[in-house]
């Protein structure tokens, strides 16, 4: 066997039936790579059912920071033939497959010729008192550690750390299974140092490995958020669970409502007392919340709403990512009101934009929407520690008894230049006012007088105008001077970054933009487009919603290319590169510049 190759970028999948515990192997592996200083990215791919249905956990460990999986899997641990049939074609030509041969020998039709297969006869190692799925996870990790050339102590340490929450009586047999794995490796000639790879040891600061849902919930809490109401739904449930776990100790409440209608209206109620409030759901649940969101817009109630988008339409594919609710978030609901839609591209953005959203809602007294997609919501990656000290909670324009006592008269919907009216929350002496979703006069009393109506509609809309450019800016990649550009949000962020870098390596200059503010469409985004000959919009939906949105906001459609996917799987970096280059205008303009390597 040739000298082990130092693998600085490893993409791996563990796949089996739901309940097989694929996640466990991945978490031990990430522990291992984290200790070596690698950056991590992890993702799940499950069916929307409890047990059974192919479930896969995937990870990437790399010396460079990456926001997506690599193009192919260097390592696939497959617990059954179905896992091979479905994923075999994704294994790298020089990849390795660990296969559970208990149910018969492998059919390797879907694998490239050079792929190395290690058939582990798990059956032979069946251990009394061990649940088979635990057993096989730790056993396969034993084999993996040898593939990666990791010494037993280090590997076992990672295992016991990753499984530290298991009771000792379960931990011990896992360690035994791990050792079976080592023994098996020895048997098949995979002794230490005999595997194909070795892992580097690089320096990086301690970081967080966190997914978007948790980071968002954390950010909301850090920004003073103290009420959340939700209803279980994939992939938004983690937000509810995080806040149910962590808010009470901080004087807050997170509540499972009877449905999404209740959730959004409870959050509205909470917001009316001055509490910073949020609600969230995923696509069909967000559909149900629209009446409430519009109401918050009309009644001028500060509220943050999260849509952790899944594949649609309707119940769709609950566990798959998509960006097909953009239209709904920007345009859904009856009538018109000021709204802001922010779009984080990863866990750091999730934290930051949750803080921004919570503050903006207070400042503008209107709904602020955070657009996640299943990938941003549930993929985890290593990011620097949150800058907690930098979090500021903007108070908004509140009135207290003293302030009120200086006013001759006070009504909730006072017409102002900024469109925002000073607010006395219930409990404030002398500030009794009326909040309503009907059209109203400054007192909050229903009015349909044409001039009152017009003034109120314009007052509300002024909130956005008064904001100007004071909205989160986007993230840029690549060469800002390039004639061609690429633009996408959310789950496209990481893969765009990598695609742009790869193009750059081949001598193709591309400018990349991940707008963090989706609505109102910021000047920044329009200027980015106007400056270039061709900008390809990358998105996960059928209709090209983001592109259409930009055109509606004035971007020239002739310049906007469109690369779309809607099969429930994210773009890989080379897939995206290929898609970009197959946009004729993109390629033409690249060629014109004469910089193709």
């Amino acid at each position: 066997m040739s000298k082990p190759k130092t693998i600085i970028d490893l993409t791996a999948m563990v796949a089996g039936q739901g309940g097989d515990g694929s996640l466990t192997v991945i978490s031990i592996l990430t522990e291992l790579l984290a200790r070596r200083g690698y950056h991590l990215f992890t993702s799940r791919n499950v069916a929307s059912r409890i047990k059974g249905g192919l479930a896969a956990a995937t990870m990437r460990g790399s010396v460079a920071r990456r926001g997506c999986l690599g193009d192919s899997f260097d390592l696939l641990v497959a617990f059954d033939q179905e896992a091979i049939d479905l994923n075999g074609h994704l294994v790298a030509d020089d990849g390795v497959v660990i296969y559970d041969a208990s149910d018969g020998p492998l059919d390797r039709t879907s694998l490239a010729e050079a792929v190395k297969v290690i058939e582990v006869p798990f059956g032979r190692y069946a251990v009394r008192d061990l649940r088979r799925d635990l057993f096989k996870n730790s056993l396969s990790f034993g084999v993996i550690s040898r593939l990666l050339g990791i010494a037993q102590d280090e590997a076992q340490d990672c295992l016991t750390h990753a499984l530290r929450r298991l009771p000792p009586r379960l931990l011990e047999p896992n360690v035994r299974a791990f050792r079976f794995g080592l023994d098996f490796a020895d048997e098949v000639g995979l002794g230490l140092g005999q595997g194909p790879w070795c892992v580097d040891r690089v320096a990086r600061e301690e970081q967080l490995l966190i997914n978007g849902n948790d980071a968002l919930a954390f950010g909301f809490m850090a920004a003073g958020g103290r009420f959340y109401a939700g209803y279980p739904i994939t992939p938004a449930t983690e937000i509810l669970e995080f806040l149910q776990k962590h808010l009470p100790a901080r004087g807050g409440i997170a509540l499972q409502a009877e449905d999404e209608l209740a959730a959004v209206n409870m959050a509205i109620g909470a917001a009316m007392t001055g509490t910073r409030a949020m609600t969230g759901s995923s696509s069909p649940g967000y559909s149900l919340m629209q009446e409430g969101i519009v109401h918050a817009g009309s009644a001028e109630i500060p509220l943050v709403i999260v849509d952790s988008q899944r594949s649609g339409p309707s119940t769709g594919m609950p566990t798959k990512p998509e960006q097909s609710d953009l239209d709904m978030m920007v345009f859904g609901g009856n009538g018109e009101f000021p709204r802001i839609v922010l779009a984080p591209g990863g866990p750091k953005d999730c934290f930051d934009l949750a803080v921004t959203a919570t503050n903006l809602a207070q400042r503008l007294q209107c709904p602020v929407i955070i657009a996640l997609d299943q990938a941003v919501a549930q993929d985890a990656r290593t990011i620097p520690y949150f800058d907690l000290e930098a979090v500021e909670a903007e108070p908004g324009v509140r009135l207290d008894a003293a302030g009120l006592s200086k006013m001759a008269a006070y009504g909730r919907y006072q017409i102002t230049d900024s469109g925002v009216s000073p607010w006395a929350v219930p409990g404030t002496p002398g500030g009794m006012n009326l909040i309503t979703g009907n059209e109203r006069n400054e007192w909050g009393l229903v009015s349909t007088k044409p001039d009152v109506r017009q003034a109120m509609a314009e007052k509300r809309m002024r909130k956005i105008a008064a904001l100007g450019d004071d909205l989160p800016l986007g993230q840029r990649f690549g060469d800002d001077g390039a004639e061609v550009g690429i633009l996408g949000i959310g789950m496209q962020t990481g893969v765009m970054d990598e695609a742009v870098a790869r193009l750059q390596v081949s001598g193709i200059a591309v400018a990349g933009l991940q707008p963090r503010t989706l609505w109102p469409v910021p000047q920044e985004t329009l200027a980015f487009i106007a400056k270039r000959r061709r900008v390809v919009v990358v998105e996960h939906n059928v209709e090209g919603q983001l592109r259409r949105l930009l055109m509606g906001a004035g971007a020239n459609g002739d310049r906007l290319g469109s690369v779309r996917k809607y099969n429930g799987t994210p773009f890989g970096p080379s897939e995206l590169v290929a898609a970009l280059l197959s946009d004729p205008a993109f390629a033409d303009n690249v060629a014109e510049m004469g910089i193709v390597a």
């Binding site: 004087g251 209740a262 500021e392 909040i435």
Partner: protein
């Protein structure tokens, strides 16, 4: 003093039952000395859903059918307020039925005035869920108190009639006190006739039966209360009075960590919990 909205203008038809409800609420609040700024009236959509405009208090006009979840949000984040949710029978029993079931179950400290006129007033006369069957094919009208009895956790179920102002007054106070004492959800249905689309004054006046008028009536026994309500209804009567009273704890008191300040009054700056946040962040460290 700062002038606030003028709460004297009602929009109801002359003779509408809703006047009585409003007046009784206003006088009960005054007599119980609830400060206007610590009172919040939340109302649904309907003729009934304008009552908040006519009480000196903080007021909120909810979405149709959603007054209870909104009121719950208020009750949990600022339990110090005296909270009165109000709305019609369409608002509460039709579009709002699911929330009513769950609010019964949760028992938050607030009063709910369900102004029942057995009709949709504001939309001009359609049948509501309490409408008497007007023809053979129609559904029977439902009874909110029976519904409340069927759910665990209910602590106060009463019915008044605007045609019996003394009883209404007594029940209004009892409801306010129940909620203020942190015993939970005080459900008070008030028969409040719609003179324009369903003038039931005379009919109802002849049918109301004050259960409490009977000394032997035991309002603490859920099953007996159900039986009596059923019996009176089957006999063509409409049971009124404080039909059921149960033990329970206000939801806010149940779920809040003892001794903590209400969410509405929590500090919002990050420093207040910085150490805790750091610890939590450390759980994600790699």
């Amino acid at each position: 003093m700062t002038r606030t909205f003028d709460h004297t203008n009602t929009i109801w038809c002359a003779g509408c039952g809703h006047f009585g409800v409003r007046n009784t609420l206003v006088s009960a609040l005054r007599d119980l000395e609830v400060p206007p700024h610590e009172t919040m009236v939340l109302a649904g959509i309907g003729c009934s859903g304008t009552i908040q405009n006519n009480v000196e208090a903080y007021g909120y006009h909810a979405l149709h059918g959603r007054v209870l979840p909104a009121a719950l949000g208020v009750a949990l984040t600022n339990p110090h307020l005296t909270i009165i949710a109000a709305g019609g029978d369409g608002d509460g029993y039709a579009i709002g039925a699911g929330h009513l079931v769950h609010t019964f179950k949760r028992n938050p400290a607030m009063v709910y005035l369900l102004m029942n006129n057995a009709v949709y007033g504001l939309t001009k006369g359609q049948d509501s869920p309490t409408a008497a069957p007007s023809h053979e094919a129609a559904e029977q009208g439902m009874d909110g108190i029976s519904l409340g009895l069927a759910l665990p956790g209910t602590t106060f179920l009463a019915r008044a009639f605007t045609g019996a102002p003394e009883q209404m007054d007594r029940l209004m106070r009892a409801a306010l006190i129940h909620s203020q004492q942190g015993r939970g959800f005080a459900f008070l249905e008030i028969l409040s006739p719609c003179v324009t689309y369903n003038d039931t004054y005379a009919d109802w006046a002849g049918r109301v039966v004050d259960l409490e008028a009977d000394d032997r009536y035991d309002r603490f026994d859920r099953a007996k209360a159900f039986g009596r309500v059923h019996e009176v209804s089957e006999g063509g009567g409409i049971p009124t009075g404080l039909v059921f009273e149960g033990d329970g704890t206000d939801m806010a008191a149940r779920i809040m960590v003892k001794g903590t300040v209400a969410p509405a009054h929590q500090p919002t700056d990050v420093d207040a919990h910085l150490d805790g946040y750091r610890d939590l962040m450390a759980e994600y460290a790699v």
